[in-house]
Symmetry: C2
Subunit: 314 residues, 2 copies
């Protein structure tokens, strides 16, 4: 049976198959016991598309629209105004300014994120996110987000798990957002989803965990290796990302004996997921400098998205 059917023959596919073979061959020089076979994957742009906007932002935009409909005084404020008109310019400019070192408007955006869930218990938020995924569709691919996971990556996740690996998502996006569908889409259970985290508080009257004020942590850059260690008590044997925020996690895996660092490069202008380097410039140059393995969407993947006849869970 072809273990990676949506990967084209070539150096990247050979590297992956050889890596799995070497670390799982008992008695071999690169053998790694199953409990230490940790594979960490970024999510947005690595396991599924992050354009035209991160999926979580689609969900938030729907919430802001609903809130502005209930409280008309919000309609003139950002990000509610943008959500109502469907114009992503303001939100995109706040994110771009953040990466340029200007966080003037970030508190406004953060407060609007928190306002969608403040005081809500975890089960209620999970149910709301589940409702979103039941109907939401990718605006350009016109299919449910659950069917937008990159098929080659689903195959890689399955190959790794079939060889005793523990697969973990290490997302810059919201942990509790992805937990709702990570098992269905990627075969990754909630306890193996690491991500950015809103502040939580214990409500003794409800005997429940509820969302509080503020953000506990943004799981990006150096925070990613710290969160992998904190969650698992192990370092990754494989890490896979697509942007500058993944560099430290990739370096962590690359420094593990026998470890493999993988960088997905969106270099295919002719398929549904567009080509882009924005936010990945430094990662691409680090990958070249340090000899990390680059995955070319154009050259390495024979197809990008699953077909209707692919099994739903990898």
């Amino acid at each position: 049976m072809n273990p990676l059917p949506s990967w084209r023959d070539g150096r990247t596919r050979t590297t992956l198959l050889r890596f799995v073979d070497e670390v799982t061959t008992p008695g071999g020089p690169a053998f790694v016991p199953p409990e230490a076979r940790i594979a960490a994957f970024d999510n947005d742009g690595t396991l599924w598309p992050e354009l035209p906007m991160p999926v979580q932002l689609h969900h938030l935009t729907e919430q802001w629209r609903r809130m502005a409909a209930e409280r008309p005084e919000l309609a003139a404020e950002e990000p509610y105004a943008s959500a109502l008109t469907g114009d992503p310019t303001w939100i995109a400019s706040v994110v771009a300014a953040h990466y340029a070192g200007d966080d003037t408007r970030l508190p406004t955006l953060a407060e609007a994120v928190i306002a969608t869930q403040r005081g809500m218990d975890t089960a209620t938020l999970a149910a709301r996110i589940g409702e979103f995924f039941a109907t939401a569709r990718h605006p350009q691919l016109d299919r449910p987000y659950q069917a937008c996971a990159y098929q080659p990556m689903r195959e890689l996740l399955g190959l790794l798990r079939g060889h005793g690996f523990t697969t973990v998502i290490v997302s810059g996006g919201g942990r509790d957002f992805m937990r709702v569908i990570s098992e269905e889409v990627y075969g990754v259970p909630p306890e193996r989803v690491i991500g950015s985290t809103p502040a939580l508080r214990w409500d003794p009257d409800r005997a429940d965990v509820v969302y509080g004020d503020g953000i506990e942590l943004l799981d990006d850059g150096p925070e990613k290796p710290l969160r992998i260690w904190s969650r698992l008590g192990r370092r990754p044997l494989l890490a896979c990302g697509n942007s500058n925020g993944d560099i430290d996690m990739l370096a962590y895996a690359a420094a593990t004996p026998g470890g493999l660092a993988l960088l997905v490069h969106h270099d295919d202008p002719d398929r549904a997921d567009p080509a882009y380097d924005t936010g990945a410039e430094q990662a691409l140059s680090e990958a070249a400098r340090r000899g990390w393995t680059t995955v070319s969407v154009r050259d390495d993947w024979s197809r990008v998205f699953p077909s209707p006849d692919d099994t739903p869970a990898p």
Copy 2:
């Protein structure tokens, strides 16, 4: 086969066996699917002794002794002076003052804890802790700490896992301390150990996670339910503790449909582990008030510690 051989027949043992039976009977009214069978256990005083001092404090005392031997100017300072003389009074008084609301000397103790590992990478600290466990013995029981785990609790952990439960340690003590031997002693792998956490930082030059300055969080009281949710994305179906710091975690489990809250009561003056209520007064009164199940060491356990012929891992 007797599923809980070190538990005496009686209401507690019956409650445990009935609980396991009910939540695992397919089609039954209390059935819980395996992925939601989360059992959370406090460690010190619940799974093994916390007297005459928490095991981690024994390890720290050895480090402080070593540091004072290398740097004689420390010998006059606390907690190094106490470590050198073997007098636990000062350290015990800081902890007692903390619970009485006086944290005047807590920063001195915290700084000494941090000083034992500042700048150290995670593998080096784990190796040092492993060396401690290779030789350290409980001062009164005169046996390795690995042989001090309560035998009835090891049997309970094994029974739960045999019925599809995920068993998790939720300790007020140090997460990375317990991770070193949690698999060997309790059959709980590192990723399922939750506990207090020193601050970590990413060292890009070493491509490694190292211990930083300060404490990231103290996993006690309301922090325990928050950490269970954060780690697992699920609420506990069973929680078991022995002190006031476990009340919120017990309430979290008790509020889960079909959930069970267990409180270990050290009420046996005649066996190796002494009887004490200090630090558990409020927990005992809450257990009585809310109808939680109390485990009496005197009445419910036919023996406390494993024999040499018990299998090492539960």
